[in-house]
Subunit: 289 residues, 2 copies
């Protein structure tokens, strides 16, 4: 049997079963980040890793400064989606020995630029030779106050679902230059009680079912904030939007829509969580399909 016969979610479930854990692992695999600490600590540590691969997440002709930005920004987006702030990054890169030094330099330039923008320290890394494509894997630590940590699993039936920004069409450029919603998520967790949150990396169609399932809910979807020129299908399925998806009570939702202070970034009600779990699929990106 091949990996492509099973699909990503089934494989991840298979590989994360029975993993060794210890007492300081509060939240393990399955959320945007792992959460580490003791229950009583005022501040918890967040841990996240992600990767970008030539030929999968970017083309070889892409400006490598944008690739470096993307490699770190993907992780920042996950720390943000837990309500936290990023702290220290570790960067592993595998380059073919024949690669132009200028391209590798550009990759690190993009990493540094993203790190400065979001207050990340680059604490270390590893470089290796690749016999194939360029691989960039970034691990990132973060911090979050206990009362501001938001998981995927806290959604309740009746909760209103919001997304920031516009969805779809990311491949036209945004997937390389997106801005993780650090400021917005920190404002949200300061002023509102979010029940559940995640960032949209595989598209709303793949990611919303994950949030709903983690929360033990179903969902209903309404109108989506589509990017210019994008269909509803594209907004669901293109992926790499790196916007926030979150659930709040209907009461908080009303207050939030009045208070939202980020005028250049739309905030849209896209649906509700339901008690009925029959509707739990929509189309998004599957890494092994």
């Amino acid at each position: 049997m091949k990996l492509s016969d099973l699909g990503e979610d089934a494989l991840v479930a298979r590989w994360t079963r029975g993993l060794p854990r210890n007492a300081t692992l509060l939240v393990g695999p399955g959320d945007d980040c792992a959460v580490v600490g003791r229950r009583s600590d005022a501040v918890w540590t967040l841990l996240k890793t992600d990767c970008v691969i030539e030929g999968v997440h970017f083309a070889g002709e892409t400006d490598f400064a944008r690739v470096g930005w993307k490699a770190l920004a993907r992780n920042v987006s996950d720390i943000v989606a837990m309500g936290g702030e990023p702290e220290h990054a570790l960067v592993t890169v595998a380059f073919p020995p024949g690669l132009d030094v200028a391209k590798a330099d550009a990759l690190y330039k993009g990493l540094r630029r993203c790190a400065r923008k979001f207050g990340v320290s680059i604490a270390g890394g590893e470089t290796a030779r690749s016999p194939g494509p360029v691989f960039v894997s970034v691990a990132l630590t973060g911090r979050v106050e206990r009362g501001r940590c938001v998981l995927r699993s806290g959604g309740k039936p009746g909760d209103v679902l919001f997304v920031t920004g516009r969805l779809g069409g990311s491949l036209a450029g945004k997937h390389l230059d997106f801005l993780p919603r650090l400021r917005e998520a920190r404002w949200l967790t300061e002023h509102f009680r979010l029940h559940a949150m995640m960032d949209l990396s595989d598209g709303l169609g793949a990611d919303l079912p994950r949030l709903a399932k983690a929360s033990g809910c179903g969902f209903e979807l309404g109108e989506l904030p589509c990017s210019p020129g994008c269909s509803h299908e594209a907004a669901l399925g293109d992926g790499e939007d790196f916007e926030l998806l979150f659930a709040v009570s209907p009461r908080q939702a009303q207050r939030l829509e009045k208070a939202w202070p980020f005028l250049s970034l739309p905030l849209t009600r896209v649906g509700v969580l339901t008690a009925n779990r029959t509707r739990t699929s929509a189309h998004g990106f599957d890494h092994f399909a």
Copy 2:
């Protein structure tokens, strides 16, 4: 200009210059791990990342359980070489979609086995599609008491250099099954004042010059504890020994040789650090050469 024209150490120096850092980054790139915390903290956090790649660090026909072990054990070895204990791992894997599920399962089996052996929790990870070789990147956190943290840079002229175990011939199997020297390093930092320590990943010939340079010293080498059937050259240059190299004062060295309690693991004086920095090269593995 290509990466292979410059060589690994020059490239790493180029890419780690001017990296963004923040106040809690006590030790950045250049040691076995990064050290994070405040100077006054009783316990510091260690951060490390490393990777193994099909066709570079292992052959495609290798038992993938051994590959999984190796991918985590390399990082454990680095945490150990700072005097610390490993805590939480993040595992990023890129697999070709056509890979046999049994091979991927075996890789995770090896990871879990290594994690259990060394008390590591597997906190999260990422799986992606690879258009080429299998790529496994592991990031690992650890903890070390402030007084037991050992850098590469504290060596002094006259210090005695020790290595644990035997060197060379790792490719015959040890490079996949090695045991990070957790127990031994914890015993060393409990009972002795180590001036400098690192683990031997690229071979003594490449790694000792790094320790000496970080300490502002030169070095002299004597007899090496060669693995059975290995030459002095192989002991210097084969690499992937994952033994400890450390420097202590001559006085501590005498006491240590009498006290060493690990009867099945040799401890060998291999040389001294010197004030004369003219002798600073020997042969080891260069990833881009």
